[in-house]
């Protein structure tokens, strides 16, 4: 039976080890946006031994490229993008920099799942295509790096009760496999 948690960033080991696949998490606090283009730049900075544009330790990164905000709004529609494009980058941020959470949609590879176990991190799923609904939980947004990337720039978001489901936990489980096996009917 899945449980419901209310958590605030930055996340600690204690925060994440209690979570199991299928649990619901309402996340509040500061999170950062990045898609593949921004991830590549972060990894390049790590390779050069330079400082990253935000403190990755305990952080949650949201894979999103929002629509432009309407006048007076902090952000436009902002649902998750497909996460596998970040698979080649996420393990290093988790294992070497202490990232604790990722928000996206869709399958991750074994390296990401292994990093979640080894360094205690969580892959959260948000509802793809619910961009208008999810934007309501974002109270402020500020571009902090790579404005030239447009929708793919790194933004600092302040979120309140952002609705998430645990897809990959710190025990190596995968909701996509477990959930599907439960409902699959073989020919």
């Amino acid at each position: 039976m899945s449980k419901t948690y209310h958590l605030t960033t930055p996340l600690s080991d204690e925060d994440v080890v209690q979570l199991k696949v299928g649990d619901i998490v309402y996340l509040s606090g500061i999170i950062y946006t990045a898609r593949d283009a921004a991830h590549k730049k972060l990894i390049d900075l790590m390779d050069e031994g330079k400082e990253l544009p935000f403190d990755v330790k305990g952080s949650v990164i949201y894979f999103v490229g929002p629509t432009p905000p309407k006048p007076g709004d902090p952000i436009g529609s902002a649902g998750p993008t497909t996460s596998y494009r970040m698979d080649s980058y996420s393990p290093r941020l988790i294992n070497e920099m202490g990232q604790k959470g990722m928000i996206g949609k869709g399958k991750r590879n074994q390296e990401v799942i292994d990093a979640c176990v080894k360094s205690k991190a969580i892959y959260f799923g948000a509802t793809g295509g619910a961009g208008a609904l999810l934007a309501r939980q974002i109270k402020s947004a500020e571009v902090i790096a790579y404005p030239e990337l447009g929708p793919e720039a790194i933004r600092r978001l302040e979120v309140v009760d952002f609705p998430l489901t645990v897809v990959n936990d710190t025990y190596g489980d995968d909701l996509y496999k477990i959930g599907r096996a439960k409902y699959e009917i073989k020919d």
Binding site: S2, G22, I24, A37, V64, G65, P66, T67, P68, P69, K70, G76, S77, A78, G79, T81, T82, Y84, K105, G106, K107, G125, T127, G128, G129, A130, G131, A132, L133, A135, R136, G150, P151, P163, T165, V167, L175, Y176, I178, G179, R180, A181, K182, Y183, E184, I185, K186, D187
Partner: protein, 283 residues
């Protein structure tokens, strides 16, 4: 020869893009409601509830349903007795696309294939549109439009089967594509299948199949039967809304078939996410 003004086409395209990007099409909404009612999996039911709420918020506040406002795809039937005054038809559709995406606060998602630089700064907002023209008899202009997101396009596949593979080979290929896609294309999905023609004809047919109203049956009895079989088999995969495990994986299977070469059986599967933003209009 009937005349139609360039700026009338621009305005119609702009308005339809903004409306369909913020108001989920009635057929997709009805299909999502049905999926919500019938879903047994609690986690997927919650996802479907969020999607219905999202559609409400987007319509009431004129916000994009999804941040991936897609590439603009058009199927255009041009009457041979129709003349556009003040510009070309292609320019009018592109200009309407630019205005729709920019004035609707939609995302510019078109980039250069290798540098990945956003084309917004070079040739305009989310241009060029993907336009398929067809010349027809008469003096009407019929435009079908859909916004096509990247996540569902990324899992789409085409192949050319040996003719001996037949119907069973087609069904197995579609099942394989949807099974491998899993949660990635934002299920519950609509599955467009193009059969026959040449390699590219099958692909274009699978795209056009997505423009059909969800919930309608195929006019061809053989294809209708295949669609029913596929609906059952694809829902049995257990993928569910956003891939979290459930019964409602597919909102519709739409097949378009064409005659093909005696040596070939081309098949294409084009996947559309649950946010099926499409419309059609005549001018």
């Amino acid at each position: 020869m009937r005349e139609i003004k360039y700026e009338d086409i621009v305005k119609a395209v702009r308005d339809h893009i903004i409306y369909s990007g913020t108001n989920l099409s009635k057929d997709a909404l009805a299909a999502l409601n049905k999926a919500y009612e019938e879903e047994e999996s609690p986690v997927c039911k919650e996802v479907l509830k969020q999607l219905l709420e999202n559609a409400d918020i987007a319509a009431n506040e004129a916000r994009p349903l999804c941040q991936d406002t897609g590439l603009a795809v058009f199927f255009v039937k041009v009457g041979e007795d129709l003349k556009v005054i003040g510009g070309t038809l292609k320019d009018a559709i592109n200009e309407g696309t630019r205005k729709g995406y920019e004035e609707g606060y939609f995302r510019a998602s078109t980039c250069v294939w290798n540098t990945r630089a956003n084309l917004k700064d070079e040739i305009g907002y989310n241009l060029p549109a993907i336009i398929h023209f067809d010349l027809v008899a008469g003096d009407e202009l019929e435009i079908e439009y859909a916004a096509k997101g990247g996540g569902s396009e990324n899992v789409s596949r085409a192949t050319v089967l040996p003719p001996a593979a037949g119907r069973e080979g087609i069904v197995n290929f579609v099942k394989e594509v949807v099974s491998n896609a899993g949660p990635n294309p934002c299920p519950p999905i609509i599955v467009g299948v193009g059969i026959g023609g040449t390699f590219e004809k099958a692909a274009i047919s699978s795209k056009h199949a997505l423009f059909r109203t969800v919930g309608t049956t195929n006019e061809d009895a053989t294809l209708e039967d295949m669609e029913e079989e596929l609906m059952l088999k694809l829902n049995n995969l257990g993928i569910g809304a956003m891939g979290m495990g459930g019964r409602e994986t597919v909102l519709g299977v739409h097949i378009e078939a064409n005659p093909c070469h005696i040596a070939s059986l081309p098949v294409s599967v084009n996947v559309q996410c649950h946010s099926s933003r499409h419309t059609s209009f005549k001018l």
